[in-house]
Amino acid sequence: MKLPHRRFDCLVIGAGGGGLRAALQLAQADLHVAVVTKVFPTRSHTVAAQGGMNAALGNVTPDNWHWHMYDTVKGSDYLGDQDAIEYMCRAASRQVIELEHYGVPFTRLEDGHIYQRAFGGQSQNFGGDQASRTCAAADRTGHAILHALYQQNIRAKTHFFDEYFAVDLIRNEEGAALGAVVIEIETGEVMVIEAKTTLLATGGAGRIFRTSTNAMINTGDGMAMALRAGIPLEDMEFVQFHPTGIAGKGMLISEGVRGEGGYLVNGDGERFMERYAPHAKDLASRDVVSRAIAIEVREGRGCGENKDHVLLKVDHLGPDVIKKRLPAIREMAIRFGGVDPIESPIPVYPTAHYTMGGIPTNRYGQVVAPVGHGAEEEVVGLYAAGECACVSVHGANRLGGNSLLDIVVFGRAAGNHIIAYLKENRYHRPLANESVDMAVARLSKWERRGDGESVSAMLAELQLTMEEYCGVFRSQEVLDEGVSKVLALGERLDEARLSDHSKVFNTAFMEALELENLIDVATATVVSAAARTESRGAHSRLDYPDRNDAEWMRHSLYCKTDHQLDYKPVRTKPLTVDTFPPKKRVY
């Protein structure tokens, strides 16, 4: 079959903040850049980020990037790579200011500077007083940033393939990335996009869980594409459960609510975080607060008829602060929680939120994998940035406000490295036809007809399995059962059938491809979790309650082939400053 071909200098897959920041850098350098996105760019999940973006501007409290770095390393439970963390924290202030110049409508202080709010895990002077480091546009910071980045890309004339679904990477025998096979969703037409460089910026995979703050599009497509192309995924056992999703629903209630002075209470009306984190209280880092809520509920101190959640109290802030600083949160609580936070507390419970793990990269955004001799060899022409990547700046637990920072800093860094790479690599490599044929064959599997399992039922089963067997608290027995259940689901994929075989805007087909991706990513997650016999950050084992630095201060690498695990050391040496050695983590 002869497929239509398009050729670009760079192919960016995904149009969230990471993809758009990279695309902007490339378009401004007069390169031909194509952005492939399965939804119109401003519908990408960056749009839902609420609280803000960390940078040590020091507009509200004294601050510097080194304190930010300390908080990030500590927040990561010492699994983050300190070279990448130093790079990110140093770059943060300039990146926020650049976004402001792009037009992001940040909230302002009386003196006209950008407003910064307190967020979890932030301190002054290496663990001292609470810092206010999170730059905010009310509680719609992600929306403001995503729209501004899209607008800048229109100005820079970036080429967009809106509503195209990326199916698989194309790699040649030497392993170089040559672009991707994509489908135009509206027509069902398969197309090859050849590119000298390819950047994966497809976001997270929160949809492997039933209750999630994530959008339905967050199906780990880029991560699964990497796995199928023979690239491992790093640290997939680390999934962040956000402490405050609306109970039973999952919609996100920003940490900014606690940053503005909101706090959690249990069924006895007790402000219980004082017991778990005497110093930081409700602004301890997310893994700590989520576990505290889960323990309160498990020990019978939950709220409501079924004692299955806790309450987030906000009303004492007064209507003015709530309306000015948290308008979208108020709207969300009224709509989905059935309460107006001006009057009553919001029922909340920990909810799957963020994938700390992902496609292994270095701090230039280059994908690195143990392809030959070393653990971190660059994959030629392939880049990843944002939530789908693992640099790793978040380690075992991401700090609130560091994800918007991550996408902007590393989207830009990847863009810059691509520009340099293209100066040395001016021509397209010959296309690898077998790689294209394999992707097309995978697609045509879904043309099979007749009776079979339904995609939506299998998805529901996967999400429930992950929630029950790979949740906030984990143990060997439960995880092992989870592994076998998820593997069995993977085997059953061959039995799944679509009844809709139309070419035109076939959303059922897209959901089937997403299910394949979700199963691959869920498998990586549960297999990696079952192997890590310690508790660190968001990975909390009842049977191994302590962190074990001697054996486990290392990154997991999961390979799709035989579900093998490999490990590599944490990069503990920063770029210029001294290492922050692991310490007991108290807030």
Binding site: P105, A457, V504, E511
Partner: protein, 233 residues
Amino acid sequence: MKLKIYRYNPDTDKKPYMEDFEIDPGLDSGSGMLLDVLIALKAQDDSLSFRRSCGEGVCGSDAMNINGRNGLACTTPIIGLPEPVVLRPLPGRPVIRDLIVDLTQFYNQYRAVKPWLINHDPVPEIERLQSPEEREELDGLYECILCACCSTACPSFWWHPDRFMGPAALLQAYRFLADSRDQASGKRLDALEDPYRLFRCHTIMNCTDVCPKSLNPARAIARIKHRMIKRAG
């Protein structure tokens, strides 16, 4: 719960038709949204087609015409919806399939207003300062999610989607006119000074009436007109 849903697949259907559906929305229907029902229906009939993503009213994917009124399925509570609930694609745009419309023209008009900050001064090493009062001017403007509920509810846009910018694009135009950091007001007004682009708005107010984010495009349009008159002296 009874629904009547617009169906059309150009692959197989000669013309569009309305299909009846009936579904038990489940025990927690008290807090359920219309999007939950659509997802449950799609689990039964995977050919039913609609866009959706965030499920909480911030991405703007699932705009549709619900009982004659444009809105987002994910923020429309099913409780209190008169039955049968009649679902149609957004009006006035070419239908691709079922509830999915072609929004190319809508996006073209958005791009046409140059929706990005224009400032010719040398780039400062810090943020461009803006007082809280100046920043407040942007409230009610920057929050637009480009769902297209407003423009596709506007009769002027139905008639002239190529020449009238439509309320969503004009709201964006005003978002930059109102920004104290933007220096292209004159050019922005020049570009709208035309019998169609701006002045085809006849203050019908459907835009403001349907906006799922409670924004007020009609007021933004009035303010652009006001600035134009003021400029003319």
